[in-house]
Each structure stands twice: as structure tokens, then as C-alpha cells.
């Protein structure tokens, strides 16, 4: 049984390794050149930071001067004026400036800056204004399996596989073996250091599942972004916004009476101030908190990618002034250094996101069964929870 499983894994790996070359090796774009100037590096980084419709491992220019991309195509699924349209991203031939027009169901599609536009009826080619915005097409709702979606699926499947196996192990024995020994302390860490202290012993169990999922999801997607696969999933605003929205929905739905009372009609302050406080609290709860979550994660991960790629680009940009060896050495040294920091940041951001989510949820379900002490003038003496709230 075990051998069959092993050989199946090997086979899957082999297919994965063969897939890119077999599908894509003959695709070439007219783009041609190498990336060796500052502007090209900038553009390349900007391009990388964005989501992509196909999965490229690496690109090179062959002897004939053609640009070759090694990777595989991903399905494009778009909501056009005629309904859902699907085709493989290979039909764009790695073109990203709108010059390749794909015709499907009588509609014309172009891709510019990783976004797909539907050209207006009658238009043959794409037109741009001076800021390089498409003028004769409209942007489509894009449900494609993009590189990010592929990354999400891959990491989710991986995590599910690991933790499902860990869960299965407990049926047979009390202490897991193998990789489970690494995963178990992490699970316990999230439960005991993030969920329990922030939410409280009484309610933490309800939210631990979400927190664990989000923690491992963000952490491993962050780490995947540091591999040469070059995912930038947690650096996509849409992804971090979705994660923040989940936290928002959870703490808004599970907020108890005290939580809403403290937002809408703050007890213990003069009546005239209460509506003002309510506005501030509402903005804080529904805008600032989720935005702090989504921007922090997005900015940290994107910045990490930009820094790593910029440091790698030193190799090309400073080649003339430092020499090949000097530029490569400097680039390598700095990139390795920053890579270690990024590995730390990958964990840290997952931790912070989970931790703040737990804190927000904890504030929503906290029980004020104790009466607040009031001073003679009617002011509340803040207790531990209030101070924690203010601190955040």
C-alpha cells in the first residue's frame, strides 16, 4: 500500500515537472530582450507583484533572439457581456500589453497589465490614452484560475493533506510521528498563545478553527512567496481584503450585547458625547480594524518581494560599476540577508494577523459581568480589557 502511495507521489511529481516544458516551450513573445536596465527591472518587479494569468517558472532568450517562457498555462474564466467565457491563458502568448487579441464567441479580449479587457464592438485593436489606460474596452470581472488562485489551491491542498494526516494519526496513537511532530506544537502554539489568551477560556474553542486556518494559510502562502515559484498571493489586495473581511464578519456576528452597547451608546460618558463616540467607534470597528489587517499584510509581503527582487537586480544594474563578481557578490550577500529577514517576516505577519483577529474577536465576545467602577464624577475607571482595547 505504502509503496503504491509513494510511487503515485513520484508520478505526480514527474508529471508536474514535465508539464511546463511540454506545454509551453514553443511559445515565444516578441518582447525579446533581457532585463538589464533600471527601468526594465522596475517594470519586471511591478509585473511580478501583480497577479498573473499563467504560471511561469523562468524565461530566457534563445539563440534566435526569441523570448522563451517555461511554465504552464492556466484557465481564464471571465464574465463578459455575453456571459461566462473560458479559454486557456496560452492564447495570449504571454502578451501583456494588449497587442494580442483573442477572439471567443465573437468577442475580442486583450490583456494589459495583467488585466483582461473586452474590446468594444467594431474595435480591431486596443487603444490607450497617454497614461496607458485602455480606452476602447471595458475591464471584466475575472474569475480566472490565476497564479494566485493556483497558489491558494496548492497551499490549501498541502495544508489539508498535512493536517488531515495528523488528525488521522490521533486515531491510532496519542503522540504523532514524523512531520506531525512539527505540526502539533504549532497547533498548540496557536491555540495556547493566540486563541486562549486573547479570546478567553470560555469562548476560544469556537474561533480556534478559523484562527488556525488563517494562521497556516497566511504563513505558508508567505513562505511560498519566498520560493522561486514566485507566488505573491498574500501580497494581493484582494486576498488580504478577503481575509480581513472574514475576521470582520466573525467579530461583527459574534459580538455580544456589551460589545454593541460600547460601540453605539457608550456607558459612563456624558450623553452629548455618546453619538460622537458612536461614530468614532463604528468607523474604528468597521473600517479601521479591517483596513489595518489588510494593509499591514499586503504592504509587508509586497515590500518584501520588491526588496528581494531589487537586491537581486543589483547583479545586473551595478554590473558596470562593480564588475560581474562584485555586483553578484554584493547582490547575493544582501539578498541572502534579506531572505532570512523575510522568512521571519513570513511568520511574523501570519502571527500578527491571527493575533489581531483573535484580539478583535476577543473584544467582541468579552463578558463584562463585572460592573465597572465609577469615580465620583461618573467617569469609568478602565479595567484591563479597556486598556487592551485602547492599546490596539
Amino acid at each position: 500500500m505504502k509503496i503504491v502511495q509513494q510511487s503515485f507521489k513520484c508520478l505526480a511529481l514527474a508529471i508536474l515537472m514535465f508539464l511546463p516544458t511540454s506545454i509551453f516551450a514553443n511559445n515565444a513573445t516578441q518582447d525579446g530582450g533581457q532585463i538589464n536596465t533600471k527601468e526594465k527591472v522596475d517594470a519586471y518587479i511591478q509585473h511580478h507583484i501583480k497577479d498573473s494569468h499563467d504560471f511561469t517558472f523562468f524565461s530566457y532568450t534563445n539563440d534566435a533572439g526569441e523570448r522563451k517562457h517555461v511554465g504552464f498555462a492556466l484557465p481564464v474564466i471571465i464574465w463578459s457581456s455575453e456571459g461566462l467565457v473560458t479559454f486557456m491563458s496560452s492564447e495570449f502568448h504571454h502578451n501583456d500589453d494588449g497587442t494580442v487579441v483573442v477572439e471567443k464567441d465573437g468577442l475580442k479580449f486583450v490583456k494589459s497589465h495583467s488585466k483582461i479587457y473586452e474590446l468594444e464592438a467594431g474595435a480591431k485593436t486596443v487603444a490607450f490614452d497617454e497614461e496607458h489606460h485602455v480606452t476602447n474596452g471595458k475591464r471584466l470581472l475575472d474569475f480566472s484560475i490565476t497564479k494566485s488562485v493556483f497558489g491558494i489551491l496548492l497551499i490549501s491542498a498541502l495544508l489539508f493533506f498535512w493536517f488531515f494526516r495528523l488528525a488521522k494519526q490521533y486515531k491510532k496513537r496519542q503522540i504523532p510521528t514524523g512531520f506531525g511532530r512539527i505540526l502539533e506544537p504549532l497547533v498548540i502554539y496557536v491555540r495556547d498563545e493566540i486563541a486562549k489568551p486573547n479570546i478567553g477560556d470560555k469562548h476560544y474553542r469556537r474561533f480556534t478553527g478559523y484562527l488556525l486556518t488563517v494562521f497556516f494559510f497566511i504563513w505558508f502562502l508567505n513562505l511560498a512567496g519566498l520560493t522561486p515559484l514566485g507566488f505573491n498571493v498574500t501580497g494581493q489586495l484582494a486576498v488580504t481584503a478577503c481575509l480581513a473581511l472574514f475576521t470582520l464578519v466573525i467579530y461583527a456576528v459574534s459580538g455580544n450585547k456589551d460589545f454593541w452597547q460600547h460601540i453605539l451608546w457608550m456607558p459612563g460618558v456624558p450623553y452629548l458625547i455618546r453619538p460622537v463616540l458612536a461614530v468614532i467607534e463604528l468607523v474604528g470597528t468597521f473600517v479601521i480594524k479591517p483596513f489595518s489587517l489588510l494593509i499591514r499584510l499586503f504592504a509587508n509581503i509586497s515590500a518584501g518581494h520588491v526588496i528581494v527582487m531589487s537586491l537581486i537586480a543589483i547583479m545586473f544594474v551595478l554590473k558596470d560599476s562593480l564588475g560581474v563578481a562584485g555586483a553578484t557578490g554584493l547582490s547575493f550577500m544582501l539578498a541572502v540577508l534579506i531572505m532570512f529577514i523575510e522568512i521571519l517576516v513570513a511568520f511574523l505577519q501570519a502571527y500578527i494577523f491571527t493575533m489581531l483577529s483573535a484580539l478583535f474577536i476577543g473584544m467582541a465576545v468579552a463578558e463584562h459581568d463585572h460592573e465597572h467602577e465609577h469615580t465620583a464624577s461618573g467617569l469609568e475607571i478602565p479595567d484591563e480589557e479597556d486598556i487592551r482595547g485602547d492599546f490596539v
Partner: protein, 166 residues
Amino acid sequence: METLLNDFSPGLFAVQTVLLLLFIFLMVKFAWKPILGSLNEREEGIQGALDAAEKAKREMANLQADNERLLQEARLEREAMLKEARELKSKMIADAEAEAQSQANKMIAQAQEAITNEKKAAMAELKSHVAGLSLDIAEKVVRNELSNKDKQLQLVEDMLAEATLN
């Protein structure tokens, strides 16, 4: 800000929402529930085992204390018994001594009595013997005296003199 908004892909947002919902559901149902359940169970098991060990230790200590107490009691009892035996011994010795003393006293008294009796008997015998001897002597003297008439008279006279004096 505009580029940020421009880069925001509503499609990706929708796809991610659906996938994340699905992922959370799957993970909670097939991974976190059984894992957390097992962890809890294990932790409770460990706590139970620790409690049981603590209880066993306490019981052991109790048992030891009991043993100690029993030992102490036995020791005290032994000492009491020894003391009693010693007392008994000295009492017996004292009794025996007293008995012996009284026996000896009695024997001495008997011996003294016997001696007295013997002495009396001896005295009596001696007296009778002396009396006999005296009589013999007197007889011989008398016989000798009475052979002479004058002397007989003399004797009677002496005796009479004595008698009156008495």
C-alpha cells in the same frame, strides 16, 4: 491609492472568498476538530494520570505513616512488656528473699526452741542425775554417819535447828 484600487481584482476577491470559505469548512471539519479534540483528550489524560500519581503518592505516605505508627506502638508495647518482666523479676526475687528470710527465721526459732528443750531435758536429766548422785552420796554419808550414835544425834539436832530457822 489609485493604482492600488486599480490593482484590486474583484474577481480574485470573489474566488478567494469562496475558496477560503470552503477551505475553512474542510479544515475545521476534517482537521481541527479531530486534532483539537485529541489534544484535549490527551491533555486531560495526562492531567488525570498526574492526579492519580499524586493520589497514589499521598496514599503511600499515609500507608508509611500508618506503618510507622504501628511500629512505634509495637516498640512501646515491647518496652512495656520488658519493663513489666523486669518488675516481675525483681518482685519475685524480693518475694523469694522474704520467704527465705522468714523460713530461716522460723528454722532458727525452731532450732532455738529445740535447743531450749534439749537444754531443759538435759538440765532435768542432769538434775535427776545430780539428785541421784546426791542421794547416793547422802546415803553413803548417812550410812557412814549413822554408824556412830553420837553423830546421829548430832545430825538430828542440826536438822532440827535448821528446820526452826526455816
